[in-house]
Point group: C2
Chain length 331, copies 2
DNA sequence: TTCATGAAGTTAAACGTTTAACTTCGCGGG
DNA sequence: CCCGCGAAGTTAAACGTTTAACTTCATGAA
């Protein structure tokens, strides 16, 4: 409402002087400075960031595109990114792509029009083709969680391969040999990497996993339930004694199937999940799982983004964040 | 990069004409229109929303302040609000207050400076004092989830009272008489209303709840665990046979304590939660709980906000959304 | 006394739109 | 033949900042 002009009038100076006082961009005499601050307070003046952004060509706004903020994993990434943004006086525009590349594309357009200073995204598609629009316009961006093949850009990933390896290694260590795996949608790199970790561990143990031990799920609890029922239906000699589920939701679905079959965990079937969602520690028995530094991924993405906004020329950095095996009672 | 000016030059017309074509605000001859669109496409022109907002005094941006986006409840509200925003070509700026009134205040300032068209907030404090800043500037806003005493404004709430009543009524219906309640922090209206619902149901059944049956928790699983242990330590004649927990997290904490005590649910102790978080259906036994239309609350908040942006004069509307009792196996 | 210097202020252009007000021109009615 | 009118275009101001360039004036050195 009150503008620079109003403040200037009340303080009896030019608008330029007010601007200099507000931004501290040039020395101003003490008396004038005091008058300006008085006027600012009296008028409850607040700078208009649109006008500022228009002139400076910097908006102090970032964009974040995730598949679905209602998914706790992405929500926590968003939280981490927002914390970093706030700490640096940036605002964050949140976008939900629903994993739909065309919706993601529309959002990219909106963010560009909104003149955001940078974009973080958990991409909806597996190739970087749709990011050329950012490249062309020289907009800083960072990709999170999901890798894009052959993309030269800043990137924050959890070490999913290592996670799958650790989980499987733990089961092997407990003496299991027939270990099954419930995967996610295989075109997404996080899931694929976890499965590769599983395979690597099995291979190192000199075990060739049977094809029927690998069940393709969709990251939802329901599919874990079906997977476990399927495993339990296998003839005894090839029935798995342990299951590695590529996320906790599916692991919990599996728990239910195992419980319904009258079997107990971990005596009859051992179980390891992935993600360490809040309730992993509250199911019975508490779930052994692999924790990702989700919040940290959001923070790091923010830091990389801000750094790139400062210095665009730097070579892109790939960050592979360590995961932790959390041993509880399910394996 | 490309501006109206560039498009105008390429199409051989004035920038005004280009603007009219883009916005369809005035008739333009077919040939000219075609040339303009050609130029727009060739130059990959995208309007600068800052400039547009500055001129129009409408940014098509909304703000949302929640305590913590990493909390699935708020994350889902955010999701609902964002969906509505996107559908109406609005963008959403996300802010996390951590329940800290001063941080909330800072965010309000930022959003104002950002010239958002409206603000939705899950307020950090119980009184509407800090919202005067919005009032003074005539910025449309809507409060969600938590009521503010004596506030005249649009408002979206779940019927928490009814939820507490339903949950308790269900337990009474199953024959329970000694029913305990695990509350949340009592200064927040959602929790307080649930407790009032509990009390009302008990009263209607002619039961005066003992003071020791009401345990003050903090909405986290740990506090539910402690609450249940406390209840189980009571002498048999006054030991509760059923527990109503004001959220699912605390209910699940209670489950754990009950399990550890070697008791079974619902035979020895019945349990009802609140929220219907995803995993409520995956714990063992599946949790009977009260579901709030969380996503719907976000959507409705968005709709109210947009409506108010259109027509500021309308009297404020209070929406009390119905909750549902979901009967599973814990009670 | 003169003049370069620097401190502290002002002026005005620029950022990219929108939109009120103005121009131009062809056409039809009187 | 003149005039008014409407269609279709242009001009320029405005939105609220930032900032380069300019002005003014006191100071101190030569």
């Amino acid at each position: 409402m009150a503008t620079l002009r109003d403040v200037a009038r009340r303080a009896g100076v030019s608008i330029a002087t007010v601007s200099y006082v507000l931004n501290g961009t040039r020395p101003v005499s003490p008396e004038v400075e005091a008058r300006v601050w008085e006027a600012v307070a009296a008028l409850q003046y607040r700078p208009n960031r649109l006008a500022r952004g228009l002139r400076r060509k910097r908006t102090h706004v970032l964009g974040l595109i995730v598949p679905d903020n209602a998914n706790p994993f992405f929500a926590e990434i968003a939280r981490g990114l927002e914390d970093i943004s706030f700490a640096h006086d940036y605002s964050l525009i949140l976008c939900n792509s629903d994993g739909d590349p065309s919706k993601e594309q529309r959002y990219l357009g909106v963010l560009i029009e909104q003149q955001v200073d940078g974009i973080a995204l958990v991409s909806a598609s597996a190739t970087p083709a749709h990011l050329t629009i950012l490249r062309e316009r020289g907009i800083p961006f960072v990709v999170v969680d999901r890798d894009l093949l052959g993309l030269e850009a800043d990137c924050v990933l959890a070490d999913n391969f290592q996670g799958g390896y650790l989980a499987t290694w733990h089961l092997l260590n407990r003496g299991h040999r027939r270990i099954a795996c419930i995967t996610g949608p295989s075109d997404l790199t996080p899931s694929a990497d976890r499965v590769r970790g599983y395979q690597k561990a099995m291979e190192e143990a000199g075990i060739e996993p049977l094809e029927v031990w690998v069940y393709r799920g969709d990251f939802r609890a329901e599919s874990g339930y079906h997977a476990a029922r399927f495993f339990l239906s296998l003839p005894l000699p090839i029935r798995p004694t342990a299951i590695f589920a590529c996320n906790d939701l599916m692991a919990i679905g599996a728990m239910r199937a195992i419980g319904e079959a009258g079997l107990s965990i971990p005596q009859d079937i051992a179980l390891v999940g992935f993600d360490d969602i809040v309730l992993a520690s509250y199911v019975i028995p508490p779930l052994t799982t692999v924790a990702q530094p989700t919040y940290e991924m959001g923070r790091l993405a923010g830091e990389l983004l801000l750094r790139r906004i400062q210095a665009r020329g730097r070579p892109p950095a790939r960050h592979l964040l360590p995961v932790r095996l959390i041993v509880r009672h399910s394996a």
